[in-house]
């Protein structure tokens, strides 16, 4: 891999991590959503990242493979006056746990920053090579 290829690779990883952060933001925003438009409570989404290889050992880019829905059941609260309450007075909420989302967000943020660091180092290596030409 050439130094120039590092920029493309780390850039693709940063883009994938930012999509992951956007999905987490969507989840957090929908923590209290009891109706996602279909009548059912919001189900949290998960980003699955995928490596795109040029060959077995040479990684070309990282991309979002797919965004999957977490089908685990959400919590139920006893709120008889709520318009979405069932016949027993329970309201089904989303399966989003803000603590889990925050931890996932920190993880994505850490990876994003690590990729910035890689770009910074690649820039330094590039500069070293350019300096040689100055004589």
């Amino acid at each position: 891999m050439r130094i120039r290829d590092i920029f493309g690779l780390s850039g693709s990883a940063m883009k994938a991590q930012s999509t992951r952060m956007r999905v987490i933001a969507e989840n957090v925003a929908n923590t209290e959503t009891v109706d996602d438009g279909t009548g059912a409570p919001y189900q949290r989404k998960l980003t699955v990242l995928q490596a795109k290889l040029a060959n077995r050992a040479d990684l070309r880019s990282v991309q979002v493979g797919r965004i999957v829905t977490d089908r685990t059941a959400g919590i139920k609260k006893h709120e008889p006056g709520h318009p979405k309450a069932d016949e027993n007075g329970y309201v089904s909420y989303s399966n989003v746990n803000p603590i889990v989302e925050m931890s996932d967000l920190r993880d994505a943020d850490r990876s994003y920053r690590a990729n910035i660091q890689v770009v910074d180092t690649a820039k330094r290596l590039f500069r070293n090579a350019i300096e040689l030409m100055k004589g």
Partner: protein
């Protein structure tokens, strides 16, 4: 002097390639089942390795060059390293990769500076020490 330049060129190429591997490790740090990749040998072991045997090109005219193998023709073996696995099965540690990256940056800078000094010495010799 020529050998030193070739050795330093090889060293810079080696550290750049290792930087590429580390970049790919960092990029794959959140992909399930991935492992850290690195060269199987150290730089010293790599440069001491004999060049791979290859058929040389035939020189059929006086202007033809034989096409000897150079430092760039040494093929470095890449291995996967085992690490502590997280729940997704990913075994890449960002901390380890960052440490590696700092080392790569410093070593590349060292090779580049030494190369530059080597060229300065050559220039000095050409000017007759003036």
């Amino acid at each position: 002097m020529g050998n030193t330049s070739r050795l330093l060129e090889g060293a810079m190429r080696w550290w750049s390639a290792r930087g590429g591997l580390t970049a790919s490790n960092v990029a794959r740090a959140d992909i399930p089942g991935e492992r850290s990749r690195d060269f199987a040998q150290t730089l010293a072991e790599h440069v001491q390795k004999p060049l791979p045997p290859r058929l040389s090109m035939a020189s059929t005219a006086p202007g033809h060059r034989s096409g000897r193998l150079g430092e760039a023709d040494r093929v470095a073996k890449v291995v996967e390293e085992r690490g502590t696995s997280v729940i997704s099965g990913n075994e890449i540690s960002i901390e380890d990769e960052m440490m590696k990256l700092a080392d790569i940056s410093a070593q590349h800078q060292l090779a580049a500076t030494t190369y530059k000094k080597n060229v300065s010495l050559l220039r000095l010799a050409l000017r007759g020490g003036r």
